[in-house]
Structures are given as C-alpha cells and as structure tokens.
Symmetry: none
Subunit: 213 residues, 4 copies
DNA sequence: AATGAATGAGAATTCATTCAT
DNA sequence: AATGAATGAATTCTCATTCAT
C-alpha cells in the first residue's frame, strides 16, 4: 500500500503557507485537467514551490490528492454539522434549500469537489480518495434524512441519502461545467433546479410515508 | 488537430470482430481504470490482439475512446428514437419509467457509459468525446420533455432535460459502482429510486405548469 | 549481409512497368525526404502498387535503393562511354563542357542522383549503395582524365578525377536544391559555374604538366 | 535481484560538461550513421548519460541536431571573421590557402560538419538545420569574395561563393571519407587538391575581370 | 531543511516485413 | 501470383521520485 498521509505537519508559518499553496495549485489543476494528466512538477511550478519541497510534505502524488480531499472533508463536515442542528426545527423545504445552497456555495468555491464526489474513479487512486469522503458524507446525509423520513429503515434512509447526494453533486457539477462552456446564465438556471429536484423527490417520499403510516 | 476517426473500415469479417474486441476491451478498461490510466498495450492484450493491429484500425488512443463513445451514441439514439415515438401516447409515469428502464439496461450493459456521461473531463481528450455525446443526448431528451412540458420555452426545456440526464446518469453510475463494492442489493435499491426521482421532479413541474396555465 | 539483389526479373510487360513505377516513386521520395524517412508503404502507395507486390520484386527496402542506384549506373555508363570516345579528338574545353552538360542533364532528370553521389552516407545502407556507384564512375572519370593528363600517375589521375566528380556533383546538387528554394535563376547561375570551375582546375593542371614536361 | 554495484557514482559532472558530452556523442554518431539512423538512446549511451538527462537539456532529437549545428556555426564564424580581416592585405593565393586550410582543419576536427554542409537534406529536420547554417556561411564567403572580385554584382559574388563552398566542402567530405575507407594517403592527396581547385577557379575569374575592366 | 538536476521504467506510436487468403 | 491485413520490435519522449549538494 502506498503511503498517503502527510509526511510531516509543517510547523513554521512559511511551511503551512507552502502546503496550502501546493494544495491550491493541485486542486485547480486536478479540476481542470484531471488527476492523471497533472504532473507533480506542474503542481510545484504553479505553487511556486520547488518540487523537492513538495516531496518534503507529501510522500507521493496520491498523498496530494488525499490532502485535497481532506480539505473537502473539513468543509463538508462543517456544513452537515450545521444542517443537522437545524434539521428538527425546519420544514422540509427550508432544510433542503439550506442543504442545496450550502453545497452549491461550497462546490463553487472548491473547484474539483464535484469531480471527486462523482466518484468517476478516473483512476484507482482517485477512487480511493473519493470513497472515503463519500462514506462520511453519506453517513451525515443519512442522519439528516432520518429526521425527515423516520419511518424508513436505516438502509432505506441511506439509499435516499445516496440518491440525493448523487443527484445534487451531478447537477452542481453540470452547472459549474456549463458556466465555463455555455455561459453563466445556463449554469445558474441548472443550479436553480437542484432545489426543486430534491424537494420533489423527498416530498413525495414523505407523502408516501404519511399515507402508509 | 488530432485524427480521431477510424483509420480503416474493417472489410473482412474477422476484422470487424477484431475491432469489436478492441472496443470491448477498451470500454471495460476505461470503465475500471479511467482513460488516462489505461495503456494501449493493455487494451491490445485484453483484446488478445497485437498492438500493431490496434493501430491498424485506430490512429491513436484518443480514436479508440471516440469509437467507444460512438457505440454509446448508436445505442442511445435507438433508445431516444423509440421513446420519442411513445412520448405523445403515454402518461408521464409510463414514459419516465420507460426512459429510466431503457437507460438503466443500456448502462448496465455498457460499462463506462455513465463515466463518460458524467463528463468529469478527466482529461481534455475525454471531455471532448463526452461533450459531443452529451450535446446529442441533451437534444433528444429536450425533445422528449417538450411533449410533457410544452408550455416551457425551449431553453427551459433543455435545462430540465439536462437536470434529468445528470441525475439519472449519476444515480445509475452510483448504483453500478455500489453493486461492485457493496453488493447487488444496494445497487438495485439505488436504481429503483431513479424513477421516483425523475417522476417526482417532472410531475411537480407539470403541476406547476397546469396551475399557471 | 542483407539480400540486395532483385528477387526476380519481371517477365511480363505489366511486371516490368510495375518495377519501373516502384523505382520512380522510390527515387522521387528518396530525393525529397531521404532514404530513412521514406516508408516502403509510402513508396508502394505512390507507385499505385500493393505493398505485397513490392516485396515480390524486392527482398527489402535496401534492394529498392540498390535498384535505383543501378538505374543511375546505367545512365552514367552511357555518358562516360560516349565521353571516352570523344576524349582524344576534342580540346579540353570542349571535353569538359560535354562532360558537365551531360551530367547536368542527367542529374536534372534523375532526382536524387546527386544526393547519392555526395555519398553523405545518411545510413550505412545508403553508403553502401553509393560506394559501389562511386567506384565505377571514378574509374571512368579517371580514364577520361588520363587522356588530358597522361604524365600523371594513375593514382594522381584518380585523385583529380575524384576531385572533379565531387565538385561537379556538389555544384549540381546545390543548383538543383536552390532551384526549388531560391528560384530557377539562381539555380541556373550556379550550374553555369560548373564548367569554369572544372576547366580552370584542369587547365592549370595541364599547364603545370606542360611546364614541367 | 541483489544490488551488487556500489551506490550511484557521485561523479556529477557539471551541466556544461554533460551537454558537451551529449553533443560530442551525437556529432560522432550523426557523422557515422546519419541523423535518422541514430537513436536518442544510442546518443545517451555513447555519452554515458541516462536518456532522461538528455531530455533534460534537449526537448527532442531535433534540438540535439540544432545544437550540434550551432557549435559548427560558432567555429565557422570565428574562421570567417579572421579571414575577412586578412582579405584586403593578402594576395589571392594566400587568402584562398588560408581559407582552405582553416576549413580543412575545422572539418577534420568536427566530424559530421561536411555532411551537414552538403545539405543533402537527408530529412526535413536536417535540411532545416543545414539551411540556416548555409545561409550564414554563404554571406560570409560572399563578403570575402567581394574583396577579390569587386567588379561583380553582389549576386554574382554570391554565386561564386556558393560554388566555392560547395566544392570545398565536397572535396573535404570526400577526403575525410576516403581516409577511413581507402587510407590516409588518398585522403591527404585529395585534400591537397582543394587549394588548386579554388585558386584556379577564382584566378580565372580575376583574370577575366581584369581583362574586361 | 531546502533544492532541482538526475534517473530510467514505461507509454504511445511506427514501420519493415510476412503470410493467410 | 497477388494482395493488404497483421505483426511486434524498436523508437521517441515523459514524469514520479530520489538524493547529492
């Protein structure tokens, strides 16, 4: 197995900034060209960091990807923690709206996030990084849906959560891509469909639950 | 510009089978490892064909991908042509059910299809191949939705079509992936959510249309 | 050692024409791109002959080159035979003029001839082909100069002959090349210097011989 | 397999020495086998340098050739600069003698120089490299002849310069080749004819000029 | 610790030649 | 005999990773 954890935690201020610069450069490049197509030297150059220093902090290319994914994880955990607190107090429409908005904002900031979350598995390496992230997010989203759909079994809840996440990330990814290709307007129009999509899906589920309960 | 068309149309029967074997091998490998990670020699080996023969039919690796995408195109066109004929005569639920079923069957047979359709753009090369395919499918799906949602402008119809496709392909891709990782059951459970998802989304849209009309 | 002789002498009229077509195509290609850069398939295509047929007549690429060189040999032998007959009866100026004119006409028709005669030795293969031809032509030119410079030893005569040939072929090659690049005019101006060059060189030699004799 | 050799030899030659070693190896190989026939791996091996290091300094094979040609350029410019300073002060015989001697010495040291200068155009790549060099040398030689033949038009001077260069390089190339094949003696005998050849040619031109002037 | 030149296994592609049809 | 698809060794070039300085 390949070492994927960071080799050392940078202590000096400069070192921390360096790692961030590397991750920023890597994230942008991965998002634009894909993991395999990006060279470690290109990342180093874009980050204005010598290649030797990159390997001071990351044992290999895969570890860079893992660190990028870890940054996603942090941001997403914050989002889902907050959503979970709101879950009990809000109606379904407001909750889903908040969910979608938060993920859209996050995905718009973090280029490359949707690509990882779509789990395309461009390579075994990327698939592994994506999987770990996906498991965790799925658990959070499942908990969230448990509030809306308490009558479903945990497994059924997880299935709904996965479907929502897949759809949401796909729509977000599509929107971001079209923004670049077909213009801002189309992108926004797509993004605005994310809420109706999830609300319709979950509302129908809730209605079915109520009918049968 | 890179040559992406096939170099020679196989005349002999054996040659046709050979090309099919190459495409089958390439499709499987692309689906499992991603375009960039797959070597042309690996494709040749998996197809039990010498590497020279691969290059007899395809000028380069990209052309293999294009041919794989072209096979998707054929299959999808057949599906959407049929759906379009049924569109006017069927209720929305039946139409969407047919749509989802057809794409699920197709995607289950054609490994790698969802990866391409998620348009992750793993590399500029793959992005190009995916884009052409996406444009065409989008046009067909837009026409399909035009029957269900005639009051919407063409652009609004296209946006709904894109959203449906993105969600459908994402759910399908997720299901296929989970089948391999988490077992058949989870995969099927996910796939069964595709219909409710699209039906709920489009039904809400139809209801809105009727309310305002 | 590689087989370089022709595999079979074509008997049927069609076969003879085929061989000629192959040699014409090969000669042109060799002259334009160089021996190594030309593919046997390109020769076959240019000659409108299937590649399999090319190998029916020539065991390998080298043999095609050898056959092209052999055609040069034939043409040159005819020239030198005629010159030798005239040698005794003509003044030096007329003889050299005839020599130069004949070679210029030949070289203008037979593209690629000068390249071979410059013996650049682009590859061991080509060097071998060139060497054989060079030996023979040198012998003839030496005999020719023997008439003009009878007091010199055979070796000294051969040295003069080689110098004349090298200079003549170089000037001719340069002229032909410049015709294509810099225009006809420059090419002709260069070619016209071939006679003065050889006449001056040989006249000085004759004068020296007379002075010492 | 057990590693038996010592750690990598710590001999880190300076980058400059490394590049020189590569160029030396390339020059020799090009001269012996021709540009197309030489592989980059063979160059690397001959230079005792890993292939990766070759591509550290040269983006591709063509660039190696260009660098070899650039070395020729430097050496030749030095020669022609010096000759030009002497031109006005020396009689024609001394000038030509110096010219020939300098080029002969240079060509004897720099294997492959004559092959490039004969501009055989073995390949489009080599032709391009040769052309640039030829243009520059022609300009210098033209300036040199301008001193000897001031009554001629610049174009006429250039024609003479080109003829002299073509003849000189051809004779030199022949001599160097024969040294290897037929022995030193013949090579030297050929080289000694270079001076008489050019002196006779240019003297006749000067005489003609004086006669008409 | 920091640097970036050095390394070489591995990837895509070519092409002379063969041989089944 | 004629054909042209098939073959695979050989070639150019890349890039993740190391390590001497």
């Amino acid at each position: 197995m390949v070492e994927t954890s960071m080799r050392r935690t940078p202590q000096r201020l400069g070192a921390k900034q360096r790692v961030e610069a590397i991750l920023d450069a890597a994230e942008t490049r991965f998002a634009e060209q894909g993991y395999e197509s990006v060279t470690t030297n290109a990342i180093a150059a874009a980050a204005h960091v010598p290649i030797g220093s990159v390997y001071q902090y990351f044992p290999n290319k895969e570890a860079i990807l893992a660190a990028v994914a870890a940054r996603y994880r942090e941001g997403l955990l914050a989002i889902y923690d907050r959503l979970h607190q709101e879950a009990a107090q809000q109606p379904i429409v407001a909750l889903v709206a908040d969910w979608v908005d938060s993920v859209v904002v996050f995905g718009s900031r973090r280029m490359g996030f949707t690509r990882i979350m779509l789990g395309a598995g461009e390579s075994p390496t990327l698939a592994a990084a994506a999987n770990a992230l996906e498991q965790e997010i799925t658990a959070h989203a499942t908990a969230l849906l448990g509030v809306l759909l308490p009558h479903l079994s945990p497994l059924e809840q997880e299935v709904r959560a996965r479907v929502c996440l897949a759809a949401l990330h796909a729509v977000l990814g599509l929107a971001l891509r079209l923004k670049g290709e077909a213009g801002e307007a189309v992108g926004w129009a797509i993004i605005e469909q994310a809420k109706p999509l999830l609300i319709a899906y979950l509302s129908a589920e809730v209605a079915r639950q109520n009918a049968s309960g």
